[in-house]
Symmetry: C2
Subunit: 315 residues, 2 copies
């Protein structure tokens, strides 16, 4: 049995032909663009699926079902993207549109971070835990919450939006309409903004050389600089880790899960990141000396958590 | 069948003899004091229970079980107060201590806001809803969360501490150890502090007269002033409502419940309070135009939600 998992992201739409054991046997990718009434995102999801199948030795007849992970508020029962802020979309009936191409296949859709949480719970760092919070630090900050082994979606699948909890009242403008959302401080995009500000402030910082070599300022720039002892880099990383930790400790105090899993590009910093986060968590979670501790770990499936989790919607 | 509900608060410990229908047929109260190794809070809980039974026409033999609502982190399985910040307590084995007085009675304990959430869900504003968040604005900000009709406690009952989520990073010092916790801005104690600051700033405000008449600055002072159009009072109330709303919208985005219920002394402001909160909620929850709305209402059981909910632990 093969399942098609699709991970919709701000930069690209990735499809994968997956097995129930969590193997991805073929992949297809298309770039994400701007969508409107004349060109639906469903067309690009379809294109990514076609590309993935073309890269396998299978045909569409070998696929049992399709699962899609999509940023924002997704009506998983109705198969509708209700609202996405980073890829601007509202009320797109994706499942109905894809049914035109795949009339006989079951098609599932859920929030992308929810999918990644499922992927990590089934095949990654969350294996064996019944209660976990998954956070993805990417274009935005996504979150997926698993309680008693079950995905928690909130009423009409519109909950679990921890990226849109305010940690600094009246702070940075978020494109969701509020000011001060965690996402505007803790996402990879926010880190890049913070790095650029620090580079202006520290003209002698090694971050300039690193960015030149990389061809751009990225989510890695400050981390690379910090690791070689650059003051500017250390300042950026420490502030950024603090921003992440504020939201993580908030979630620990609300959910007190077995584990918090960090995914997305930034999670590649591994223990360099989680050691700092665990130290802050250890000191500052509510009743830290008396309550069970909450451990922060990085995702082990890397960028595949969302894809595998999307496929697992079909299982 | 009669059940004893006990609601432990920062000012007093209230006990009530309750029926399964939510009637409180007799009450007993003792003042909360400072507790240490020489005098356990269990003794005052016992005293409140004795007073309640003395005020009924019953004896202890008519009581089927005892339920206790206690602020802070409570190990509901082990019957232990693990950590409370407002009434300073750590690792108090309350259930074992009370068993000395009531060896044959089942004794249950849970977080006070969890109890109030249960009380409102069973007998108050939450009746008929399967998913609700209850917030109590008192000495601190407590929260109780009901998901699919079941109390959500987090691992080892140490979750659901929404009062200790930071809404202003590096803000007010909270006695939990963090800075900027919602509790330090949205509790009744915070409102009183905010009112005092505004009274210093607005020497001509009617708040001075109101406080003089009341004998003190209370959680009502600014609300009374605002309702007669006093500029200082309006400023305090608007800021305070904004602080409350930041946390409420955070919780709506995470849980997307059917309803958010406000309890505690401040909830007596009724629709004057909830109209303002609902307007902010309506505009600012994530994907507000596309997602199901979340309504904010006040508790209908007033101060009895905690007591009845504590009793309902026995049902």
């Amino acid at each position: 049995m093969y399942y098609l998992g699709v991970d919709v992201g701000g930069m690209s739409i990735k499809a994968g032909v997956c097995t129930q054991n969590g193997d991805i046997i073929a992949r297809g990718t298309v770039e994400t663009r701007v969508y409107d009434e004349t060109y639906s995102i469903s067309l690009d999801i379809h294109a990514a699926i076609v590309a993935a199948i073309a890269n396998s030795e299978l045909t569409i007849n070998d696929i049992s079902a399709i699962g899609i992970g999509q940023p924002g508020s997704v009506d998983s029962k109705g198969g509708i993207i209700r609202y996405s802020n980073n890829i601007a979309l509202t009320n797109v009936p994706v499942v109905a549109e894809l049914k035109e191409f795949y009339p006989t296949l079951p098609i599932f859709i859920n929030n992308d971070a929810n999918c990644a949480a499922l992927g990590e719970a089934l095949f990654g760092s969350g294996k064996g835990f019944q209660n976990l919070v998954f956070i993805t630090l990417g274009t935005g900050v996504g979150s997926g919450i698993i309680i008693d082994g079950k995905l928690f979606e909130g009423r009409d699948c519109a909950g679990a939006e921890a990226g849109h909890t305010v940690i600094i009242k009246d702070g940075n403008q978020c494109n969701c309409g509020r000011r001060g959302c965690w996402e505007t401080y803790a996402s990879a995009s926010a880190l890049i903004r913070q790095t650029k500000v620090a580079m202006d402030k520290f003209p002698m910082s090694v971050m300039h050389n690193i960015a030149k070599e990389e061809g751009k300022v990225s989510g890695k720039t400050a981390f690379i600089a910090a690791k070689v002892g650059d003051f500017g880099g250390i300042t950026v990383v420490n502030n950024y880790v603090n921003y992440i930790s504020e939201g993580l400790i908030n979630l620990a105090n609300i959910f007190r899960p077995d584990v918090i899993i960090i995914g997305g590009g930034i999670s590649h910093e591994g223990v360099y990141l989680t050691d700092k986060l665990n130290a802050l968590m250890q000191d500052l979670n509510f009743g830290a000396k008396y309550n069970p501790s909450v451990k922060v770990v990085t995702a082990t499936l890397s960028n595949d958590a969302g894809l595998l989790g999307a496929a697992s919607l079909c299982f």
